[in-house]
Subunit: 287 residues, 2 copies
């Protein structure tokens, strides 16, 4: 199977963009990889680590790319696309690695209309770290990659993006962009919001008890709150970008929390056991 692209330009060289570049190299991608980042240090590190071949703080570096990959926080997609648009060459495809789809895919398609086909994508992989220097080998291997085509999506462009991710070892799943946002509001965005909230709550409880409660946490807590180390800007943008679905998920979660709170208040032993048992069974679905 041939590689479909000669030059790939990554816009936003953080952990995800960097891991994408790193794994292309590791899989033997023979073409050139370039990057744009507002932070010149990210570009320098990327070159130093031999993850990218060239980079710039200017979007004009995308001029020879036949694939442009948005890997910035989702809140700046529109501004980034407007800056890169004058430099997109004919035949170039634009895709992304962001956690929000829905309306945002539609906006990207509108901005790029008549210039380049846009194919929305979301790799279900990452770590709580940030920065190109934390790029991870095999990050996308055996992970799901959600492709979110619309009725406007160019079928050939979609096929090329699909093949590219399969080369990185991902399992590609197609999903409607709006449905994507409902699904990931529940299984990804809600857990992050909850993890950040519990850490802040324990900050408050530390003030209540007059000591640093974080000193008494064990391994369970460490795993439970690891995702609260994730990049605040990235998560701010996701919360704004998928606002309505996240609010719905929070609502459902508050209902569950209120249910268990009532059971504890009433000292309802049977009810508590059932509540925990039900969760344990559902969670057992995940290995």
């Amino acid at each position: 199977m041939e590689w479909e692209f000669n030059e790939i330009c990554i816009v936003g060289l953080g952990l995800i963009g960097g891991s994408f570049a790193l794994n292309l190299k590791l899989k033997g991608f023979p073409g050139r990889i370039t990057a744009v980042d507002i932070n010149p240090e990210a570009i320098e590190k990327g070159i130093e680590l031999e993850i990218i071949d060239r980079g710039s703080i200017k979007h004009s570096i995308a001029i020879n790319a036949d694939l442009i990959v948005l890997a910035t926080p989702v809140g700046v997609y529109e501004s980034v696309l407007k800056q890169v648009k004058p430099h997109i060459k004919e035949g170039c495809i634009v895709t992304d690695l962001g956690s929000v789809k829905g309306e945002l895919v539609k906006r990207c398609e509108e901005i790029l209309e008549g210039v380049a086909p846009f194919v929305g994508g979301h790799p279900i992989a990452g770590t709580e770290k940030s920065g190109v220097e934390n790029s991870v080998e095999n990050l996308f291997a055996n992970a799901k990659f959600i492709l979110t085509p619309t009725e406007k999506t160019d079928p050939k462009a979609k096929e090329k993006i699909k093949k590219l991710w399969e080369k990185l070892g991902s399992k590609v799943i197609e999903m409607d962009p709006y449905h994507h946002d409902r699904v990931f509001a529940a299984v990804s965005h809600l857990p992050h919001v909850v993890a950040y909230s519990i850490v802040n709550a324990i900050g408050k409880l530390s003030e209540d008890t007059g000591e640093n409660l974080f000193e008494f946490t064990g391994g369970g807590f460490r795993d439970f709150t690891r995702i609260a180390m994730s990049d605040p800007i990235m998560w701010r943008d996701i919360c704004i970008g998928n606002r309505e679905n996240i609010l719905k998920s929070i609502k459902r979660f508050k209902e569950a929390l209120t249910e268990v709170e009532r059971l504890i208040e009433k000292e309802d032993k049977e009810g508590l056991k059932e509540f925990f048992q039900k969760a344990k069974e559902k969670r057992s679905f995940i290995k």
Copy 2:
């Protein structure tokens, strides 16, 4: 340093009791380890795995023990103590491995008054699994062990328990039993209640969207909800036993959650960034 005990009897041979026995053996404890469990299969497995020397479903097996260790769910401590009490020999010390202290320590002291000194303890270690067959080597090494003496606690008995845990590699910290319950309501009990709740919420959201959302979870979610696989009976008993502190922690958590919910509703970018940034900084305290 000598071992202070000749025969140790563990009441409740699950993951924690089993790991305690296993690590005593691994550290070269030369005495006999016995166990009581209502489930004869747990005893059989414990013997088969060479974790214990003898066991029974009857509490009378504790008759020669000079240390009795409660490792059952905290909800049955009183009933267990009443059953074992007639068999406690002179000079024997009673301790425990439970996650609730406070009033429960007082009750244990009352039940054992004139029979044996009670020393409350709580190893800050565990896994989401259950059962003696899942006992973990070095589970307590480099982990905190919280010793919760009261004004009634026998100083010699306390010292012996302290030394025992230091032999297992734990860092022993003394804490007032009531303070213990406030601290662990925040850093352990709240996260468990939240993890169970989020899994149940995603169960509801799966019904809302008409598909099994657990299929789309990634590594972050897996870590985040691992503790929701913990034993429902154990956690039911902890929630009842530390009811008031857990309810206070839930209240604080709900406040934090409502704060972030309002920020999302208002699309307050600066506020969201600050909320996430604050949590990230606090969480960075834990390595």
